[in-house]
């Protein structure tokens, strides 16, 4: 559900914000802008400051320095509650009160002074939309994890917020519940087109839901751009690792013909798109899922083919991770069915192929 960035002015903006605990700076961000009707994912490893940034934007944490601008105007202490009433936040834990599902879902509307009729109408609509209408009178403390998170999401959506903050709302759920709820969220976000900030460390969630991605490492924004840009052209080794480019091989550019570089890697030459100059030391990144394995060297459009010996096979669910020694280490991710059909065994020699466009080359620092 990629939404192309519009040329609108930002709804919400963080400017020169820092958050300092004691002597430790946990967040140092020059600028983040949220444009209307867009889903922005804040991604990064644990402890990178994702939640801190999201809490600052949601006006739930006052930054040590800097300001948050709503519709271009800085939000001061006096207007904090009024500004917050234009947002809704869903945390990783459902954080429901010890009362009925209905009372939980209506709480925000009651606090914001909605009429009884509107509260009832919207609550019925969203309880139904999240498939929890039959649970309305149940005590929230007796719900399952999935039901509780659906209640928490309904509590946010009834408010029809101008900006919705989702702080890893699926992270604490088991896989089937997560998949079902995630599917619903994809549809709902597409229908409502609500401006959304989504904190996640799950690459798939970010890729599926977000049009913009803000990547944080060590409290600083290390890359910001369209989802496609960040995931296919990471700006550094750290980002490449985070976005799933698991194969990282050191090499040196030996030729460059109109942006197609030949990189010498462990006595072999790998071809990839790069502007790096001849002689420059580089790192070559390849996603395991972009590597194809075969028993014989076949003629395809892929320009990189290497024979390698299987050193290990690691089944992970429906997939198998195949570790190869091609003169340099390589990990491929294939389906269990393919592994069975190729009768892959440790010690066996196979051919690994990948396209020029599948690899990403970054100059070494």
């Amino acid at each position: 559900m990629r939404q192309e960035p519009g040329q609108t002015s930002p709804v919400l903006e963080a400017k020169q914000i820092t958050v300092v605990y004691g002597k430790r700076t946990v967040l140092d961000v020059a600028s983040v802008q949220l444009h209307p009707n867009r889903v922005t994912a804040i991604i990064g490893p644990n402890g990178s400051g994702k939640t801190t940034l999201s809490l600052c934007l949601a006006l739930l944490l006052k930054p040590t320095t800097g300001s948050i601008l709503l519709d271009g105007a800085a939000v001061g202490d006096g207007s904090m509650m009024r500004a917050r009433r234009r947002f809704a936040v869903v945390f990783q834990e459902p954080l429901l009160l010890n009362t009925s599902v209905w009372d939980n879902v209506t709480l925000g509307m009651r606090l914001r002074g909605f009429s009884r009729a509107e509260t009832k109408q919207r609550t019925l609509q969203w309880l139904d939309r999240f498939g929890i209408a039959s649970l309305a009178q149940r005590n929230a403390k007796t719900l399952s994890g999935g039901e509780a998170q659906r209640t928490s999401l309904a509590r946010a959506f009834v408010l029809q917020p101008e900006v919705l903050f989702l702080d890893e709302p699926f992270a604490a759920l088991d896989v089937p519940t997560r998949e079902s709820l995630f599917g619903d969220m994809v549809n709902i976000l597409q229908e409502t087109r609500v401006t959304t900030v989504m904190v996640t460390h799950d690459r798939n969630e970010a890729q599926t839901l977000a049009s913009r991605v803000v990547m944080l490492i060590g409290g600083k924004i290390v890359q910001e751009g369209s989802s496609k840009e960040v995931f296919s052209s990471p700006a550094s080794e750290e980002i490449a690792k985070f976005v799933g480019m698991e194969n990282i091989v050191e090499g040196r550019v030996v030729a460059n013909n109109n942006g197609i570089a030949d990189v010498s890697v462990g006595g072999h030459v790998v071809e990839g798109v790069s502007r790096c100059a001849v002689g420059e030391p580089v790192n070559v990144f390849i996603r395991p899922e972009d590597i194809t394995l075969s028993l014989a060297q076949s003629v395809t459009s892929a320009r990189n083919h290497f024979s390698g010996r299987i050193t290990a096979l690691l089944p992970t669910g429906p997939l198998v991770r195949v570790s190869l020694d091609c003169g340099f280490p390589l990990v491929a991710l294939i389906t269990r069915m393919s592994a069975d059909e190729l009768n892959l065994q440790p010690g066996k020699t196979v051919y690994a192929s990948f396209k020029v466009t599948a690899i990403h080359i970054i100059a070494q620092r």
Binding site: L60, F91, L95
Partner: protein, 232 residues
């Protein structure tokens, strides 16, 4: 053994016949301790909430003072209140010493750290993000505190029980600031001391039984409320 049985029998008759002195002492005990508990809830719950939710200079010292106060000996509290209310003391002009009001003041000082300490611990046990969640729904700061207290209502009832239990059963402070004047400031605990020192075991046992039954009934009511809320 005979003396104890005699005492219990006579206590039973005193209770059955509704002895006026016994009833007056029991009523005053309830009034003094009930008022002190209510006052301590009025001050202690907001104070405990503020200590749990706010960060300010001197907070740690205040928390450690409250923790110390939770175990403060009632006689020491009695001494301090007596000195304040003494004719030449800072509040001597109020002429409150040796009145039920002085006893309420002393018991309030005993119950306050207990109620504040329990409230603080109770709120701190809630998920810290719950406060943020409530604020994000559009609540003001006072609304947020109210909702957090409602969420912590079950353990907060324990604060009420602990506060009331501490003051209804204390004797040192009541004796010092009330002087155990019969018909005026005598409460059950001081009456038990007085009757025992005179060898009137029947009376002492009668007061003891009433005291135990009263404490039990108050705690029974609070426990029923607590468990009913839990079952809902």
């Amino acid at each position: 053994m005979g003396m104890i049985l005699d005492g219990i029998t006579q206590a039973f008759w005193l209770l059955v016949h509704g002895d006026r002195n016994v009833l007056r002492v029991a009523t005053l005990s309830l009034l003094v301790s009930g008022s002190a508990t209510m006052l301590s809830l009025g001050v202690g719950i907001p104070a405990g909430s503020a200590l749990a939710l706010k960060r300010f200079p001197g907070r740690t010292i205040l928390v450690s003072l409250i923790n110390t106060g939770m175990g403060a000996p009632p006689v020491v509290v009695g001494l301090i209140i007596t000195m304040f209310l003494w004719r030449t003391g800072p509040l001597g002009a109020t002429h409150l010493l040796f009145t039920p009001s002085a006893m309420v003041a002393a018991q309030f000082v005993i119950a306050l750290p207990i109620v504040s300490g329990f409230t603080m611990a109770t709120i701190q046990q809630l998920d810290p993000k719950l406060r943020l969640q409530i604020l994000s729904l559009g609540a003001s700061e006072p609304q947020t505190v109210w909702l957090l207290l409602k969420e912590a209502r079950l353990p907060l009832l324990a604060a009420v029980m602990a506060g009331f239990g501490a003051v209804i059963s204390e004797v040192g402070a009541s004796m010092m600031v009330g002087a155990n004047i019969k018909g005026q400031t005598q409460v059950m605990t001081t009456a038990i001391v007085d009757a025992t020192s005179r060898g009137q075991f029947d009376l002492a046992i009668a007061f003891s039984v009433i005291l135990l039954v009263l404490v039990y009934l108050v705690n029974l009511i609070l426990t029923v409320i607590q468990q009913r809320s839990r079952a809902r």
